[in-house]
Point group: C2
Chain length 468, copies 2
């Protein structure tokens, strides 16, 4: 890779950003060299903290000149090792590019530096009487630049879409070192190829996002939560279909009884009702009027009469809504105790029951000693498959056997025309499995895109695709 | 270009699609060689009508082998000469690829051949109790493939977005002749670059869309229309802002008194009210409940009290709503009598008043003999500037002088960070002006995209960008 000595590298970087914005201490290398995946050892050569788009450009030009590899670093909450620096890369942290500016009430937009934290934007929007709707567990640490680069999803996608849908405009530094301003924040702009969408979800491999203008929404009114006990997966789809024909849902999540029982065992949330069922659906909607609430209750009654639902509870106020949400949102943290092996799969919504059943059957057959916990954003066709490590099994053996599970699961995913990464991205951990979701021709064109924007392969090399 | 003789060309095409699916008669060449622009003379060498994606692939492979230029032909309602064949090209018509299939009520999706007519999809959706929300004047002729390739917008963008937002998945034949299925109709799929969005709005220059899975929406309930008389442009923005803070609008259009007077002069629609103002706003929203209607009336009263609005009328039933829409929708056809010179501009919404004023001032100053008619989708920042030809002025002189107008207008558009083509695309007519909206670096990357998908420049060459 680089021809620079470590001292020369630090000196060149310091000349761009200042001495105090380059770090090479062991703590920083460890902290900024990794994301939430714990598979690779972080080994960056330096961490650099630019404050402007122009400084990022200078770093990229230096990388091209000196053969550096750059890894972008946001909140480092990724789950696919997209922000790992395991091979002596220079990590470019956006922590100092965290300004929110140029709010426009009429346009309902606001400009964010790449380093703005999701929650910071959510709070800012709230202060303006508006709403930033992309939300997920890591909102307190994840950064807007990272959200955009991974097209983050979360718990409100059924109503509000992915991060992609909220990006009015982007400033990027491409791998060639060009500063490009994409779409200029316009609502309508049909002037040739919309390359903004390549950088959204591009995982920093084509260029780094340095600034973005994000759209904001009208805040939702009186969000109300229903939790329903559903005896079988197919019935969940009937419930979804029934409710969607009557009201606009803001969330439609599901979890299995195993997931619920793990959460309840911690003792700090209550069971939603006494009846036990194999699956649970959590629905959220805006009950702006009594009439809307009446419609929801009628839909619930139809679902009960049809036998799709065995029991249910509805929130009467914000606190109750928050408590019901905990049944779903506490799952991830609760099961982290069992070092779960996670897969983030999606198929089209109507195929979910059959797909889930087939995956479960294979895992149960091939790995009878593993416990499976399902939950996910079922209204989007997105299932999180979690396999829990048996307490007595060593971590290495568990992950090795899970790699075997992956092949089975991804073959089924391919058969169902699904995605091997619905919202977590590809990074390094899903790269070997990309071909299950993308054809050889597609991967060929992806490489051509990469070559066009980053001919020297300096931007997050080794992530998403390999350039040979 | 091609080395084939005309006879050999027809023979090779017929070998792919059958003799009856190749036409070279004068009528067909004239009809299929042009779109709604009337600037260039159609001069295709043949029209070919494939029935399958595989036949399109064979045509593209032949084009690469024999050096043919291909022009895609949908409903030919384009306004930027994107589907013109003026240089001996082979026109690929999608008229026979008009099947609607694989409707899924749960997924709310339906598969369309590229040749499905917009209205055909709208009607189909209605029959399933759903709604295809992209709508515009040419919906009775335009085809889905063309809508996707031009990312068609229209009158409901403020609520439902552009065509881009309704494409779940795409089948395309790239310029290299690969059949690629993009996104597989998934709601969530973060497996690398989303190249679907390059083909949407790509105007057939990277490849041809042959099939698309389109999303459908819940049908709107009790659509209600308000027409307001507004004394000045800045007040329209206040009205927009006020209403958006209270209800979700499905449309927010505007037109000038000049536009209204032209429509009223035809005598088949009535003035909305007696008060005359310089501008009119048309708002549409779902009045599902009486409570919603009350909110709308309260917002209207605030706008009156503030002096932003001088008068207004609200529809009480569907017929009244349709009649109020005619005040806006009849403008295009009405002014076509004056051979209008059209520009389709956009800026961010908050800049609209200042931008409109500056454009108007320049046109009035430089071209005092021209009459200007403004209307457009102001809720999206999209203004249609129409300059009417003085009756006595010859067409040639008028268009020549209008080219002078364009330079002035596009310089202002550039200054305001706007778009020289908000929804009409680039084609041939906006190609010389692309640099007012896209930087040299962006255009360079666009050429690299084109080279990657269509290295021999056989797909709609000479449109959007020139490959030198």
């Amino acid at each position: 890779m680089t021809q620079l000595t470590q001292d020369a590298l630090v000196e060149r970087l310091a000349a761009i950003v200042g001495t105090d914005k380059v770090r090479t201490d062991a703590d920083s290398l460890e902290t900024f060299g990794k994301d939430w995946t714990r598979i690779y050892e972080p080994q960056p050569s330096a961490i650099v903290f630019p404050k402007t788009t122009e400084q990022v450009q200078q770093i990229v030009l230096l990388a091209n000149e000196a053969g550096l590899a750059l890894v972008p670093s946001g909140g480092r909450t990724g789950l696919s090792a997209g922000a790992m620096a395991a091979n002596g890369e220079v990590v470019v942290s956006f922590d100092y590019m965290n300004q929110i500016s140029e709010f426009s009430a009429v346009d309902r937009t606001v400009k964010c530096g790449a380093g703005v934290i999701t929650e910071q934007l959510q709070t800012y929007a709230e202060e303006q009487g508006l709403f930033y709707p992309v939300d997920f567990a890591s909102a307190g640490s994840s950064q807007i630049g990272g959200n955009i680069s991974t097209n983050a999803g979360g718990i409100k996608v059924i109503r509000y879409g992915m991060t992609r849908d909220w990006v009015a405009g982007l400033t990027v530094v491409t791998g060639k070192g060009d500063i490009v301003r994409l779409n200029k924040d316009l609502l309508k702009n049909n002037t040739g190829y919309d390359m903004r969408h390549l950088f959204i979800g591009g995982e920093g491999t084509l260029g780094f996002v340095t600034e973005a203008t994000m759209r904001l929404a009208r805040p939702p009114k009186n969000l109300t939560v229903l939790v329903l006990g559903v005896p079988e997966m197919a019935a969940i789809m009937n419930v979804l279909h029934k409710f969607q024909s009557g009201i606009d849902l803001t969330a439609f999540e599901f979890f299995s009884d195993k997931a619920l029982n793990k959460v309840l065992a911690r003792g700090d949330v209550q069971a939603p009702f006494e009846t036990e069922t194999e699956f649970y659906a959590l629905l959220e909607f805006e009950a702006e009027t009594d009439a809307k609430m009446d419609v929801a209750m009628q839909l619930f009654e139809v679902c009960m009469e049809e036998g799709w639902v065995f029991d249910g509870v509805i929130s009467q106020n914000e606190t109750q809504a928050a408590n019901l949400w905990r049944l779903r949102e506490d799952i991830s943290e609760t099961i982290s105790h069992w070092t779960p092996y996670k897969n983030d799969l999606s198929v089209i919504v109507s195929k979910v029951p059959e797909f889930l059943q087939e995956v479960e059957a294979v895992v149960v057959r091939e790995y009878p000693d593993f416990e499976i916990v399902w939950f996910g954003h079922i209204g989007d066709g997105n299932l999180h498959l979690n396999i829990l490590k048996p307490d007595e099994m060593p971590k290495e053996e568990f992950f090795e056997r899970c790699a075997g599970v992956s092949r089975w699961v991804f073959e089924i995913t391919e058969k169902y025309d699904g995605s091997v990464s619905a919202e977590h991205g590809v990074g390094m951990t899903k790269k070997p499995y990309l071909h299950y979701s993308r054809s050889a021709a597609e991967i060929g064109y992806m490489k051509a895109m990469k070559a066009a924007f980053d001919p020297n392969n300096v931007m997050n090399p080794g992530k998403v695709i390999d350039m040979d």
